[in-house]
Amino acid sequence: MTENVRLIEVKEEILSDNIKLAGGLRERLRRAKTMLLNLMSSPGSGKTSLILRTIEGLKGSLRTGVIEADIDSTVDAEKVASRGIPAVQLRTGGFCHLDAAMVAQGLDALPVGELDLVIIENVGNLVCPAEFDTGAHKNAMILSVPEGDDKPLKYPLMFSVCDLLVVNKIDYLSLSDFDMTALRQRVLALNPRIRILEVSCKTGAGIEGWIDWLNEEAAAFRV
């Protein structure tokens, strides 16, 4: 029996289908001059609130569309669409993350040629979305103050793959023992290139820094 057993070299990326698809999406959007931003965070950290602030802040500068991922509701997309922004809701069922195929589906439902920026609101989760390339040109994440400053220690990959970290709900800082200096040190140790912005979607504090970053990145992208 055993002499019939042979070794077959495979040497293939398990996620190769997704990597290829994501690369293709990135290229297609680059030609269309539409920047794709993947926004990730835990549930309840303020993704939808930040997107609503973003829509206000980008009025007149960037034509923006939104792809919403949620377990099984259309609440977020309805909120966004009520602001007059093209939005599509992906029903991800029990899926813990978005992959490039799902994002491609969402893009098909948006007037991509007329948009400068498409924001993906990924599934609320700090683990799985970090592992799957969505085809985005930029990755950003939100950490909210009530979640705690220890999150980079628990979810290092998420902090490693992002270009920008928004620390939201800074209006809670006085009520908590959240240590901003420790957070910054932990995050920068994982990812020295990451930008860190402190904001409150509730009060509007710091939001202009986020809007400036989007405008700068979109301008650099169009060149």
Partner: protein, 116 residues
């Protein structure tokens, strides 16, 4: 948490190579998975057993080699291994510098398989 789609991809790639090599039965599949991945080995095997029913890969055993997380120090360029839970506070053993660039630990590869 996302063992199911990963396992589907593994099976698809394995069956492709099995078909190309005229395999009658896949015995063992060897994977290289970085320690930064959250995959649970037991769940991958369980999903694989379920998904592979009726294929030449039914009953195959998955062997998962966990690849270490290697950081390259941003100060002195020394490479060193670190555990996932300590990545945020990693200190270079050579120069004591904090801050590094991830060199490996995110692997998701099928290395080889044993088949009849």
């Amino acid at each position: 948490m996302h063992e199911l789609p990963i396992t589907e991809s593994i099976l698809k790639i394995v069956l492709k190579h099995a078909g190309a090599n005229g395999v009658r039965k896949v015995k063992t599949i060897r994977l290289k998975v970085g320690k930064l991945s959250d995959l649970e080995d037991g769940w991958i095997q369980r999903y694989f057993d379920y998904l592979s029913k009726g294929t030449v890969a039914e009953g195959a055993r998955l062997e998962i080699e966990r690849m270490p997380i290697i950081m390259k120090c941003n100060t002195c360029s020394e490479s060193y291994e670190v555990e996932a839970a300590k990545m945020g506070g990693a200190i270079c053993p050579a120069c004591g510098g904090t801050g590094g660039t991830l060199l490996s630990g995110r692997e998701y590869t099928i290395k080889e398989m044993e088949a009849e």
